[in-house]
């Protein structure tokens, strides 16, 4: 959902203003995504490059928020774009390339998290936990810091789907239907995963409150 965590307030009466556009709303110079998709399907490398350059920041940002660390970001971005270019022929609505690519990024991240967890269990790699201090810059407002610490403080303890659902919901502000679409899950499954994750966030908050009072 949206901004359940958004801390800012506005004075009563402010409304109906066309605000700053979201990244995805920015008017892109040059051909539309739909046109680029059609050209890329036809094997035009320049169209693939244009799609990459247009959406690379979105994919990097999404993957970074889901992983909570930087070291596997490049591999993940590469895997997501490779999958997108390979499966471009399946995209039913070429103009929706951005949201389709975001779904692929979410799935790719989920696979990475599962593989990582398995290798860690087998003792084949060190745990790769969220890098909280790198993630949260010192300049963030205190309320934002607190909320992000609550969320990212529990991520490593959560199963992959619950982790992704929590970040998409609380950090990215997606609604449950949107998360369901991104993760290819039913809405009721998303709600179950969110309940689990929110339960952990609640416990984390209580622990933090106890520690600060003692």
């Amino acid at each position: 959902m949206n901004k359940l965590a958004e801390p800012s307030r506005k004075s009563a009466g402010t409304s109906s203003v066309v605000a700053k556009p979201l990244t995805q709303e920015k008017a892109h110079a040059g051909p539309s995504d739909a046109a680029l998709v059609v050209a890329a399907r036809a094997g035009e490398k320049w169209a693939q490059e244009a799609l990459f350059r247009r959406h690379a920041r979105m994919v990097n940002g999404l993957a970074y928020r889901l992983l909570g660390r930087d070291d596997e970001l490049d591999d993940l971005v590469q895997t997501a774009f490779m999958a997108a270019f390979r499966d471009l022929g399946r995209l039913a609505e070429p103009q929706a390339f951005g949201s389709w690519l975001a779904s692929i990024t979410v799935r790719t991240t989920h696979k990475l998290l599962r593989r990582r967890k398995m290798l860690t269990r087998l003792g084949l790699r060190e745990p790769a936990n969220v890098e909280l201090d790198t993630l949260l810059g010192a300049s963030l407002p205190a309320t934002v810091q607190r909320e992000l610490r609550e969320i990212y403080g529990v991520l490593d303890a959560l199963p992959g789907e619950a982790r992704i659902a929590l970040v998409l919901h609380r950090v990215d502000g997606l609604s449950i239907p949107e998360i369901a679409e991104r993760m290819a899950l039913s809405e009721s499954t998303v709600k179950r995963r969110l309940r689990l994750a929110e339960g952990e966030v609640g416990k984390h908050r209580e622990r933090a409150a106890r520690e600060s009072s003692s």
Binding site: G13, D33, G89, S103, V144, G173, I176, A184, K191
Partner: protein, 366 residues
Amino acid sequence: MTRLRDHLSAPVDEARIERQWSALGQAGLPRAEGRSRRLVWVLAGALAMAAAFGLALQLQPEVEPAPQARKAAEQLPTGAVLESADAEVAVQLSDGSQVALAPRAQVRVRSNKPKVIELELQSGRARFDVRHDTGRRFAVQVGGAEVRVLGTRFELARSERTDGTFVQVTVREGVVEVEVTRAAQREVTRIHANESWSTIFPSAVPEPVPAPVHDLSVDTAEPEASISRPRKPARPAAATSDDADPASDLFTQATLARRAGRMREAADSYGELLERYPSDARSALSAFELGRLRMDALDDPAGAIDALERALKAGASASFREDALARIVVASDALGRTQQCLRARQRYAEQYPSGVHRAALEQRCQ
């Protein structure tokens, strides 16, 4: 309004993006899979038509089959054939899943048991709204492909061409698995939401076994008699309800604009739909989407509250009612309307005591 994500920026600059692009090039950029594998991927124009068709069906996600059709469907024996004439019809299967047949479509029931649903699309197009049940097999045979699902919404189309049987799968929600066997080679493909897959089976598909026909285009007050009725020839296509449904067009327009990131345009279309067709079946969902857009993209929390309240009054379905109630709390909070926020939070807590937004809402209305 900012989201938490706006405070988290990935450590990515132009130089890193450049390196990532170079790495992609070195790894060998893949080409979109095409005819070389004998799979014909749908091109833009055809996709737009398919998407338009899919959306038109999606606009009526709660297709309620006529009582007589549902009653008859529950008695569908193995081998029965569902056939639509010149209008879309929907039937409910024994596990609660729904099948909506587009005009002049034919679906054969291979099994209609609660734990095994097996259908065959013999001609035309159909939408499947499948209830999630991991213990039940749900499969649809179409041409030489078998489409297997757990719980999802998807459409199938089949048409006979001079070069073979054309089959198309379009997934709206969830994931389906398509298994194709050619020359003793099994090929399994997973199709995700917003993806479309198609192929041509050059070899002739065996003729369906003659079966009793259940013609849904006629009054089925006596279902037993209608099931054994001889098959009628397909009637000429007539205009579907969506052909002359401006509310449907507006909804489609809004959905496409939203998916393409044109939020203002999407909001205008939803707003127009609500203004011109306030009692349309899609008004609750349109009001919810409008509220979401005003809140997330257009920085209009007051307008968002109006739209979300309207969605609730219009009978928002359970899938987004909870979200609407929670959003009203957040929007009121953003406007600094503490009393309204507290009332909205109380309303949410009463209706969803264990709701997924409860913890987050507790931080609100301070």
